[in-house]
């Protein structure tokens, strides 16, 4: 039995003049897997325009409100992640996430997605978490929400591509994340 939970957001774009309708569905388990496969096939054949989103662990863990409200355009946004990174992170972790201003801070580019999300969430939720930089880190992340965390982590994971402009800014046309796949 599959344990993964998949939220499928169908953006059925019916282009009748300027009118456009959007439908959001949520499905779980094996049925979701089959539905996802079906939608991907139809999408590739050009029959429909859909966006398939997987509800990631961070949303299950980080913010109920954010997860409930998560629609296609509100999920991990690399551009938003870049803005957050430049505002909160880059001074200590470097423009490419390969630096570390503090002696015992880990280099972000060496961490996995799960490690990054866990670290940020732990620093956010508890002022007692972490080593000597916990005071600095708690201040840096205590106001970010779960969607911000997802976005900044996606940015960090794709930071090299982003810096060389290989990341397509349109998330509708370029699948670029592990937790979120976009189909068109």
């Amino acid at each position: 039995m599959f344990k993964i939970v998949i939220s499928i957001c169908l953006l059925v774009s019916i282009s009748f003049a300027a009118e456009e309708s959007t439908y959001v569905f949520e499905a779980k388990g094996k049925f979701a897997e089959e539905l996802k496969t079906l939608l991907e096939k139809y999408s590739k054949d050009g029959h429909i325009d859909v966006k398939v989103l997987k509800l990631s662990d961070s949303k299950k863990n980080g913010g109920i409100m954010s997860a409930l409200l998560a629609s296609g355009n509100d999920n991990a946004d690399i551009d938003r992640g870049q803005k957050i990174y430049n505002s909160n992170c880059f001074k200590c972790h470097g423009i490419n996430a390969k630096e570390s201003s503090y002696a015992n801070a880990r280099v972000l580019s060496t961490l996995s997605k799960e490690e990054l999300i866990n670290q940020i969430e732990n620093y956010k939720m508890s002022p007692s978490y972490g080593g000597s930089t916990k005071f600095v880190m708690n201040n840096a992340v205590e106001t970010v929400n779960s969607r911000d965390i997802e976005s900044v982590v996606e940015y960090i994971l794709n930071i090299d591509k982003k810096s060389t402009k290989q990341i397509n800014k349109s998330t509708n046309t370029k699948p670029n994340t592990a937790s979120t796949s976009y189909l068109k």
Binding site: T22, G63, M65, S66, L68, M125, S128, T133, N145
Partner: protein, 366 residues
Amino acid sequence: MKLAKLSLAAIMAVGALSTVNATPLEDAIKGVDLSGFTRYRYYNRDSVAHDLANDNERHRFSASATLTSPVAENLVASITADIDLNNLAADGAEAGQDLRVQQLWFKYSNENYSFKLGKQALNTPVTYNYFSVATGNGARFMYTGVKNFTFAAAAFVDSDRNFALTAAQNAENLYAVAAIGSFGSVNAQLWAFKMTNIIDDEEFLQVDGKVAGFSYKAQYVRANLDSAISTETQSFYGVQLGYKMDSFGIKGGYTGTSSKGGFVSLAGGDGSGFISGGINSVYEISNQADVSSLFVSVGASFGKVSVGAGYVDDSYTAGGLNVDVSEAYAKVGYKYSKNFNTSVYYSSLGQDVDSNEFRFEAKYSF
């Protein structure tokens, strides 16, 4: 099997929950983030001598929830509610903290500085930072405009403290300034504090770093208390060395306090930033004079399972008498899922009255 379920966003998109003049719920809670945890702990001690709840067996229920929401550009509001109740098995009595608003603050931040106003966690190395964190009503300013450095200044009225140094338990005002920076492979942080009617001045200095798997940390703290409490200068010092390789880690260290006085912690035990070892012995030696504490611990993790063990050998002076304390402990944790963890530990505290404690914990985070 459910074929499909409309999400809250879809429901609200059709305006089902909005009215003409009111803010639609979707807009009202857009960006609102909810996080927190619920936790259950079971304690069993064969001696009540050192149990805060004064009972051999108790059940503890704790929960915390934080709502964080953007209210304007660069401005965020946050509210935290918590509850922490102990059900004493002997007579069924309950004790602890009822549901309350633990924190409520607004924070403005930009690339170089942040300003936080309201009831908030004190969040310093000398105050209690675990669950039921020490809080105060006040303001905190942080400046991060200089690379590799963070500067902070804070002032709190009616701040919490977790000790009974004086008969009066009224909350006092706490003032703090800090400079945290990095110099090559060495981190350093210097804090200075003043607490009305308790501490005239206190300084906390720490240096730490890591080199090829090895870590080190050294601390020196001194405090001049209010003359009504003590005219002696209080001091604490400690060193800690560690080594970590893959999933295995070991650390050991030594701490001590001046024979004239060792009152430097506003946490009154564990939960602050002081170097310490053990689980329960730290409560015995905290803020005591003439402390000598030697500790070592090892830990390892194997997938979802983590194990650890340690030993502490302490001594201090109280009422002109020397007191020896030792503690041996072992703990096992199981990470059932990303959100749900369980753990147990067994601690044997050797003192004038021996005290052995078993604790089970289950914690769900969201």
